[in-house]
């Protein structure tokens, strides 16, 4: 059985201009110890999906439907109290902004210790010792001194390390990382990605990585799910996805990213564009969500939404025309 199973997840928000279908019928699973990346552009529903896993969506205006089963338990059926016992304990989360997601008036030691005291009942002394241990684990120099410092005394990269320490303090089975390196500089991003890879091997937690950066996906993910306008359009193991993207959106996304070193092997060319804009989610979309921007769309695409169909081993795409074998033109 998979560690996490999400079935037909729907997250809708009531807004003055109509119901926003931020996530509209998404199913996926995460196995134990696996890294699943959820990729897509702003507004595709990837962050809303991740937040709904921990039920962090305010209801109302939000509304979550479907099923989220973690270790066999349906998280949507739990009481708020039961949910609190899971957050930060079995499932924990790293957010994008290490500047705003730490409490500025508490020492980092207190913040790491908080989860330990709450979930594992440690006393203040034991919690601080464990906090020092966690800071050592995430590679912060002079941890015994740093544990008594406040977030503003740390650099952006160090704050993100503290976030990771908090998230891992209770040995979670699942770690949700929402754009964990987006706010960081490349050299610091390299440090943090390296740390995440290393810790994953040592701690063994499964990771759901939310990102828009295909480079980050290629470096850390094992399996990738591509989202567009609130729906899942493609899913495949990472190498397969980059080698044989089947959905025209995934193909467009991969073509739109220039590769470092490209000027050495080829004459400068134009980047592949995906024309047009992401559709508004406040109006119901008839047919394929990508039809309006797709080069190969036909009347069928505009009338009927394609189902997610297998296109190869562990590879699925939601497209009427994605070919079963070789990549579509």
């Amino acid at each position: 059985m998979a560690l996490l199973e999400v079935e037909n997840l729907q997250v809708h928000f009531r807004t003055p201009v109509g119901v926003n279908r931020a996530v509209d019928g998404v199913s996926f699973h995460v196995n134990e110890g696996e890294t699943l990346a959820i990729v897509g552009e702003s507004g595709c529903g990837k962050s809303v999906t991740s937040m709904s896993l921990l039920r962090l969506i305010p209801e109302p205006p939000g509304k979550i439907a479907g099923a989220i089963r973690f270790g066999g338990k349906d998280l949507l059926a739990l009481s708020e109290k039961e949910m609190r016992a899971i957050r930060g304990n079995d499932i924990s989360m790293i957010f994008q902004e290490p500047m705003t997601s730490l409490n500025p008036v508490l020492t980092v030691g207190r913040q790491i210790g908080e989860t330990l005291r709450l979930h594992q009942g440690l006393d203040a002394k034991a919690a601080e010792d464990k906090a020092v241990e966690m800071l050592t684990l995430v590679g912060i120099p002079a941890p015994a001194r740093r544990v008594r410092e406040y977030p503003h005394q740390l650099s952006g990269g160090m704050r993100q390390r503290v976030m990771i320490a908090i998230a891992l303090a209770c040995n979670p089975k699942l770690l949700i990382a929402d754009e964990p390196t987006t706010a960081l500089d490349v050299t610091i991003q390299a440090q943090i990605l390296d740390l995440m890879r290393d810790l994953k091997q040592r701690v063994g937690a499964a990771i759901v990585l939310i990102t828009h950066d295909l480079g980050v996906v290629a470096e850390v993910a094992e399996r990738v799910m591509v989202m567009y306008a609130g729906r899942k359009v493609e899913e495949a193991p990472v190498r397969e996805l980059f080698a044989n993207p089947r959905h025209p959106y995934t193909q467009g996304l991969l073509g739109a990213v220039p590769k470092l070193g490209s000027s050495l092997t080829q004459e400068s060319s134009r980047l592949a564009e995906i024309p047009g804009q992401v559709p508004s989610l406040t109006r119901p979309i008839v047919g394929c969500v990508f039809a309006g921007r797709c080069a190969i769309a036909t009347d069928i695409c505009r009338a009927y939404a394609p189902a997610l169909e297998p296109k190869g081993p562990r590879h699925a795409a939601a497209c009427h025309y994605a070919l079963k074998e070789a990549a579509a033109a």
């Binding site: 050299t187 390296d194 980050v216 470096e219 590769k259 995906i274 804009q277 992401v278």
Partner: protein, 337 residues
């Protein structure tokens, strides 16, 4: 020899952060501390580096959005850093800007037509009212927006479309140089590609020079002619694109390139992971500013600041390693994977 369009000579911008009025020892942020470069007509020079390296400050100094501490900004042979008000007015027409955030850089209460007409009127470029409307229409064509959209307000457009309006506004003054300060960084992947292509098309069509400030090395490589790498307020390397990406001559450039995640799973790479963080520009390290993080630093780096020196192919770099015999220079070792 033709004169470069823009010359920046030993530009410095220091901000005072403490002391002064009531005594106390003043301390400064050395945001830009002696930067020199040139941009030729029709050329793209990219300024890259991490946050806080001073690249945006250089861009703003070139635009003369503030007074600089010392140095020169020369446009077409004319010094602009101490120009009179009239000279500055003419300068503003020739050098325009596109900022990062298309949401905050357009006046929400002005219609697109008025946003585009303002620079045309300000610089007296239109011969008549009909000419003005025609120019606004042509700008919309140029950036790929429908002409009838001029009656709308900025909030009625998406991020990518707004960035097109910002580009049209910059073009309205018929500039020779556009400073693009992270102009595509806030955009989504697919929209980013549209705007990058648009900038390249417009540059080719109008012969514009671009000073492209960015932290995204893959985009830079895609669209630039030359690259200047900054670290803590100084240039560490300036080179034509291919030379820089194939054979970086500064350890910082090398580490920066190796840190970029590649959209290619399973690619074997020889990654240099820099330890530590960028030091504070209030108190930059003595000697080479990079020595605190450089994997190859030796004694001389800690005491003596290296100067930018040129290697064949207009490849400038500031690193003491190049004074060593080639066999001992770790930078020249082939990139093994």
């Amino acid at each position: 020899m033709t004169r470069p369009l823009l010359e920046v000579n030993d530009l410095k911008k220091h901000y005072r952060i403490a002391g002064g009025l009531f005594g106390g020892k003043p301390s400064y942020v050395y945001a830009v501390d002696g930067v020199s470069f040139e941009v030729a007509r029709g050329e793209t020079l990219s300024l890259v580096g991490e946050s806080g390296c001073g690249k945006s400050t250089v861009g703003r100094a070139v635009l003369r959005l503030f007074d600089i501490t010392s140095g020169q900004v020369v446009l077409d042979g004319q010094r602009m850093d101490d120009a009179s008000k009239d000279a500055l007015h003419a300068f503003r027409r020739r050098v325009q800007v596109v900022f990062q955030d298309p949401f905050s850089s357009l006046n929400p209460r002005m219609k697109v037509r008025d946003i585009l007409a303002e620079p045309i009127r300000n610089f007296g470029l239109a011969a008549s009212a009909a000419d003005l409307e025609e120019r606004v229409g042509r700008l919309m064509d140029l950036v790929g927006l429908p002409r009838e959209a001029v009656r709308r307000f900025p909030h009625q457009f998406s991020g990518g479309q707004r960035q097109r309006i910002c580009i049209a506004r910059a073009l309205a003054a018929e500039p020779e140089l556009i400073v693009c300060d992270e102009a595509v960084s806030a955009l989504d992947v697919s929209v980013k590609a549209q705007i990058v292509n648009l900038l390249q098309d417009i540059q080719r069509e109008l012969g514009l020079a671009l000073l492209f400030i960015s932290h995204d090395l893959a985009i830079v490589e895609h669209m630039t002619h030359r690259v200047a790498v900054m670290y803590l307020g100084k240039l560490v390397e300036v080179a034509p694109k291919r030379a820089l990406f194939a054979r970086p001559r500064h350890p910082y450039t090398k580490a920066l390139l190796s840190a970029v995640p590649l959209p290619d799973p399973g690619a074997a790479r020889n990654r240099i992971i820099l330890t530590g963080d960028v030091p504070s520009p209030v108190n930059p390290p003595k000697g080479c500013r990079f020595h605190t993080r450089c994997p190859y630093a030796f004694d001389r780096c800690r005491s003596e600041e290296p100067e930018l020196r040129v290697a064949p192919g207009e490849h400038w770099s500031a690193c003491h390693l190049h004074d060593l015999p080639d066999a001992q220079n770790p930078l020249l070792a082939p990139l093994a994977s």
